[in-house]
Subunit: 306 residues, 2 copies
Amino acid sequence: MSVLIVGSIALDTVKTPVEEHSNLLGGSASYAALGASFFSPVRLVGVVGNDFPEAEFEFWKSRKIDREGVQRVNGKTFRWSGEYSWDLNTRETRSIALNVFEHFKPALPESYRQTDFVLLANIAPSLQSHVLDQMERPRFVVADTMDLWIETTRSDLDALLRRVDLLILNDSEAREMTKETSLIKAGRRIRKMGPRYVAIKKGEHGALLFGEEDQFFSCGAYPLEDIHDPTGAGDTFAGGMAGYLAGTVKKVHFNDLRKAMIYGSVLASFCVEAFSLDRLRNLSMQEITERYEMFKLMSQFEVPPA
Amino acid sequence: MSVLIVGSIALDTVKTPVEEHSNLLGGSASYAALGASFFSPVRLVGVVGNDFPEAEFEFWKSRKIDREGVQRVNGKTFRWSGEYSWDLNTRETRSIALNVFEHFKPALPESYRQTDFVLLANIAPSLQSHVLDQMERPRFVVADTMDLWIETTRSDLDALLRRVDLLILNDSEAREMTKETSLIKAGRRIRKMGPRYVAIKKGEHGALLFGEEDQFFSCGAYPLEDIHDPTGAGDTFAGGMAGYLAGTVKKVHFNDLRKAMIYGSVLASFCVEAFSLDRLRNLSMQEITERYEMFKLMSQFEVPPA
């Protein structure tokens, strides 16, 4: 089954302590769509300018990422530039040029309106809601968010939360949203704001999943020694989760979300191994499966003696 | 099989944002011994003053914690007082009085010298080494350490590491010891300093285990909403691990250490539910088993559909 993904599409400049690259494909929807595409066809919604490379459209086509919902507008594509700290744990935005994204109003093609699985990748919650308004009762809605929206458009976000099945956010955002220091309390509290399920990403510490009646799942992060560019890891995680669900599950249960979270983690671990989407572009399903098996190995503790 | 445990025995005063209690049983050996005692008999090595409550000796006896190795010396027992920050994540030492601990030199009773499993709970590395000097080739040596020894007695610690099978330390200590920001790099690097296995405790984020040829295990923390007193959690974790190994395993393999780490995590999660050792004193094996099963539930992702 297809998954509809809406979010930002950007051209990034990224500086780490060892490298700097410009004109990289970026944006929450770009990462999420490619992450999801390993498991299900994608219907992409976003906006690009006329400077956007034609080659990306071809690449999307080869990956069953439908771009009918991507508006091409006169002007420049959204541009973002960021710089990471020495340990890659924090980053500063150096510049933002919204360009064609400034007046972006997602308009769903007729053929997109009946899509069972939706991922509202990270953009303003009012735009995320606007996408839902145009849809005919989707079966499962995943939303990603960030600190900016918690701080600046909280009431929009609160309204959105009541329409979401799974909310994905990181640990500091969960704490900020609830004013709870305990992530366990924070996760359970966010569920009471609307989402049936909540996934909290903890970077190098893995992720937590909360469901009904204290359902709980915890997974570690893949043990990577070297990270080249953390950009887009969270978006890829969300895309992997949503794509796995859309591609494999009819009615979502907590146990499906466990596996979805592992696949999201697997894809995010590949994402950070290279700049932009480079590692994901040549990633094979076999590599994904191998790393999935490694996740099993690293979390099992009832295994037969060696 | 028995486990020999050496470490500090203290009387603590602990202040959290909501409560303050004095004259609590504390010290690394007290926590570790009680943690281990659920799985195997314990041979305890330490020192107390003549103010030490007789009732503790009785309690130890009831738990098969042998105190022949506990010296009773004229003077006062080691006293420690600490205060936790509002979120219980950091603490400050308010006062320390070493008292009889100042000139402590562990002397092993003849009957202790042949013990196959040893836990060198957190004390100065020179004292930990001194215990090993008196033993006849123990089969498996676990050592716990802390930032103080990394900073002040590094060469003693380095010498000890070459004699240790499993080193347990927390995330900030692992980073400090190796100057690596990546815990994966840090864990692998510490293995090259001597210990065949390394366990890194990450508090609310669980723990990591490193072994030969990139063997790796990651577990989450039990999802506790409320923590009353974090004191001794790490010591209890180490005690649970060492006790489980001594009580159940002949020759230690990586897969045994996985389970040992879960049992250590289970015991630590109970430890923090009350002040001092109070929760561990009335803990039942059934409660331990139930929480162990919960750990399975919260980390499994290949489960049959609900």
